[in-house]
């Protein structure tokens, strides 16, 4: 048995960008890339790639990574290939940059249809830029397939069923569905593997398939936003931190306890 897996992955601003380097262009209402800090593949999408590669090992799978956007950095987007994915498809078009969740879902769903046969669509639980956690749900709705979110474990059974452990804050749910299906993956699934040297060399030789918006049958009018961004700004914290010192670190620890008692917090 071998299944076709499509992993949706997004290129995002590195969420580890230090707060001091995090800048917003408030007129354009967008986050400015920090100088010298390249974008990354959304972390949860890497968890989804990891889930796909685990299935490739256990049941056999062909793994296609799909991304929709523009301004792709090829070294960044090739990382899933170097981890072991088979092919990369980029819908690279200014028309599909900065879409809202609805339009993103539309573009991803149309791309998946164009790819043809698929059994499983995997997505990260949410993207670390807009934290919407919505586009995957839209893809499932538009493709008319079952949807399971927040996977920490995915098993494919011989009869074409899948069993998913869905991470909750106090445990997990076990959910069953039949393929084709869409599953979103959470970090509890496990750390994504590091690319091997061989993987990096193989990935280097692979050329991504690049489509435009019209290749997936979409025009600007199909992608008009339903949600409008009115304002984007960096929050200001009004808290002043009282730093507790001492003769040395141990003394500072003692003083901290005393100060907390004085403030009636302990």
């Amino acid at each position: 048995m071998s299944i076709n897996i499509v992993v949706c992955a997004k290129q995002v601003v590195d969420p580890e960008t230090p707060a001091s380097a995090f800048r917003i262009d408030s007129d354009a209402k967008r986050v400015l890339p920090a100088a010298g800090i390249p974008p990354v593949v959304n972390g949860f999408d890497e968890n989804a790639v990891e889930a796909a590669l685990q299935l490739k090992e256990t049941v056999g799978a062909s793994v296609t990574v799909l991304s929709v956007g523009s301004g792709f950095v090829m070294d960044v987007m090739k990382k899933p290939l170097s981890m072991g994915a088979d092919q990369l498809v980029l819908v690279d078009d200014p028309l599909v940059a900065d879409l809202d969740s609805f339009a993103t879902a539309r573009a991803l769903a149309e791309s998946v249809k164009k790819l043809g046969e698929f059994d499983l669509v995997l997505c990260g639980r949410q993207a670390s830029d807009w934290d919407n956690a919505m586009a995957p749900l839209g893809v499932a709705e538009m493709l008319g397939i079952p949807c399971v979110t927040l996977a920490q474990k995915i098993e494919v059974e011989d009869d074409g069923g899948i069993v998913v452990q869905r991470a909750l804050t106090d445990g997990y749910e076990v959910v069953r569905a039949t393929l084709p299906a869409l599953v979103t993956v959470s970090n509890e699934l496990g750390e994504p593997r590091y690319p091997t040297l061989r993987g990096i060399m193989t990935a280097g030789r692979k050329r991504p398939t690049v489509w435009s918006a019209s290749d997936i049958g979409l025009r600007a009018s199909d992608l008009a936003p339903k949600l409008l961004l009115e304002d984007l700004f960096v929050p200001v914290s009004d808290r002043q931190c009282e730093l507790i010192g001492g003769e040395d670190d141990a003394d500072a620890g003692r003083n901290l306890a005393l100060r907390l008692r004085e403030a009636r917090l302990i």
């Binding site: 969420p15 807009w130 956690a133 997990y172 076990v174 339903k226 949600l227 929050p235 302990i266």
Partner: protein, 330 residues
Amino acid sequence: MSGILVFGEMNPDGLGGVTGELLALARSLAADTGDEVTVALQSDSVGSEAEEAVALGADIVLKVESEILAEPQIDAHLAAFEQVCRAVDPGVALLGRTPLGRDVGPRLAFRIGAAVAQDCVEVSVNPDTGRILATRPVYGGSAISRVSFSGDGAQVVIVRPKTFEPLDPDASRSGDVRDFPVTLDESAIRARLVDTVTQQAEGVRLEDASIVVSGGRGLGGPEPFQQLQSLSHLLGGALGASRAACDAGWIDHSHQVGLTGKTITPDLYITIGISGASQHMAGCSASKNIVAINRDEDANIFKSATFGVVGDWNRVLPSFIETVRELRDG
């Protein structure tokens, strides 16, 4: 299309906490729009929860009863709520970002062609347009966005739990309680919940604790969490951790505090070796007092902390714990 429709959640003890929060928000929006507030209560059987919802602010309660809705089967609740939504045709639908609402809300919106404002922490009515204006943290909390809805279609608003205070129940409020018959069958459930496994950490629940002690990447390994555990016991609190520490396998994910973990609201939040990445702060920013012990004086955590020690936790923590113990015993 008008009115505010609330997706009411129930738990075995009555209304789920988020339902009261959503009703409070609905009432504040209704004060500006003059809209009626309708809540759909979906379960196998709705009892006193209906009156409870009226007391908390609902004008109309729809009892959406079906055997199939006894469990949190997402597909079944989605199908039921879709039927309610198409019948009520609300201007605004409010849901909580709960394990159920976070999936039902967006999928409903995609089905009815509406947009969604996700994870909102402030929601108001634009007086010029009468349309919703919603505020939500993005980029893991590094930025705040304000969004509105294009056109004049339905507006689906998903609200971050524990953001709005429920109103005090007012038993004298009156409201209409109606049955809303739904047509559901098993085939609606395409992804079926077959089991729920609870892994409750011992002691005080993180979400309920008035004191939380958390450790992060700076601890360097699993062992220091034992010291943190004993400190949290000493203070009658709960033990938390950053996602980095959980992903590294130093401590179970059930302790994870943050955007993708638990949201905590303690009076005192003591962090050790946590840098305060926005992803983490999203889960603890409602703490009344944050204490930071961190080696890096530029760490983001100090921006949100009330008290801080810049130093090596290896040296700070033992004397801190010892003094806490002396203060408690003395």
